[in-house]
Amino acid sequence: MALLYVDQIMVRFGGVMAVSGATLLAKAGQVTGLIGPNGAGKTTLFNVINGIQDPTAGSVSIDGENVTHLAPHKRAQRGVARTFQRLELFSSLTVRDNIRVAAELAMLTNVSSTVEKLIVRVGLTDVADRTAGDLPTGSARLVEIARALATKPKLLLLDEPASGLSDIESEHLGSLLRSLADEGLGVLLVEHDMDLVMRVCDHIFVLDLGEIIADGPPAEVRQNPRVLEAYLGAS
């Protein structure tokens, strides 16, 4: 059974269809990519999956349970965590406290040790006591990821985690994502850094004009003429 199943989601803003009938799924232990040109509706779809946006039609299931109309925090309790494209740090707390809040919200029993382990694992040891608002982008993105991981999620939604990262940082991010998937976590990745997407994803969905126009393993998607057309326009 798929960890996440998004079925025929439609979202309408006023007269505009932002997402029109997208269907996709993500499995535990895999990194699933969601790519597409600007304005394709990726972030909207993300907001629907974690409950910030109500869909006009369609349903979202986590582990077979229909969560379409649950509040975001209830979904979090069912194992969905996310990061944001425009950073949403608790900017007046320290890095450690950012992660700590998340761990506490997940009702973990061993908050401190979880937090410390995550700080080391994600590579934030040097900045752990700094105020999150003062961090450079690279570290800030890592804090968001660590914070999401602190809730011990089953499904991790990453919205452009590599934007603003240097090449080395984004490589580091790639190996982190792989190792997370190998531990059994399901990752859904929206990203524009195609090198990263092609490298770490097991399966890719391509969204264009609010619809999934193709899906498959990276190499296949890369050759797909419809994908090329979506990106480059008709020749």
Partner: protein, 238 residues
């Protein structure tokens, strides 16, 4: 009179701590159409924001018609003749079509002239002049923003993602109009992800990714492989 009409010199810019443009330099000659290509997040839209005056670069200079105008406000540049069609739809959704054109009169031209030009070019807008712009279809909305660009008689036109969320057929129609504007000698900087479409119109192409200019050259010399690798990564088959 051989100075570039628009020149970016070592521009760095970004939002707060996030730097999106790392030392970008290029120039546009009078009458030239330059296409700015590259994947999302490459810094193209930020480039447009800097050139239009909406975003102040953190360092570097913006030189327009030989004058350093770094830090000039967007409204002053606009009145001087730099017309921008921003990302998304460059229209006011809660104003009528006619009121959208009223807003164009800040450029200094009279409403009669503007309406005349706009409706001649896009008769469909004339039928809808009292309709709220936000209730029109995406293609019509882009027509309206192009109509404004045409009617204000700009010297420089900046276009950001005209095609976003539109069907390919409408996109190619819109680009026919862009080509017509270009033929009148207006210098154009156009950001587009539909590279194939825009390369038919452009004289020069610049491919950006990660906030850096990767390739720059005459439009007809930019190869498909360079584009594919910029958009979908350079990994060859696994």
């Amino acid at each position: 009179m051989n100075q570039p009409i628009l020149e970016l010199r070592h521009i760095r810019a970004g939002y707060g701590a996030i730097e999106v443009m790392h030392d970008i330099s290029f120039a546009i000659e009078p009458g030239q159409v330059v296409a700015l290509l590259g994947p999302n997040g490459a810094g193209k839209s930020t480039t447009i924001k800097v050139v239009s005056g909406l975003l102040r670069p953190s360092s570097g200079q913006l030189v327009v018609a030989g004058r350093d105008v770094t830090g000039a406000s967007a409204d002053a540049l606009s009145r001087a003749g730099v017309c921008t069609i921003p990302e998304g739809r460059g229209i006011f959704p809660n104003l009528t079509v006619r009121e959208n054109l009223v807003m164009a009169t800040f450029s200094g031209r009279s409403l009669e002239q503007i309406e005349h030009d706009a409706y001649r070019r896009f008769p469909r807008l004339a039928e809808r002049r009292t309709q709220l712009a936000g209730t029109m279809s995406g293609g019509e909305q882009q027509m309206l923003s192009l109509a404004r660009a045409l009617a204000v008689d700009p010297a420089v036109l900046l276009i950001d993602e005209l095609s976003m969320g539109l069907a390919p057929k409408i996109v190619s129609e819109l680009y026919e109009q862009v080509a017509r504007i270009a033929s009148e000698g207006v210098s154009i900087l156009v950001v587009e992800q539909f590279a194939r479409t825009v390369l038919g119109v452009a004289d020069w192409a610049i491919v950006m990714s990660h906030g850096v200019v990767q390739v720059s050259g005459p439009a007809d010399e930019i190869g498909e492989e360079a584009l594919t690798s910029a958009y979908l990564g350079d990994r060859s088959d696994p």
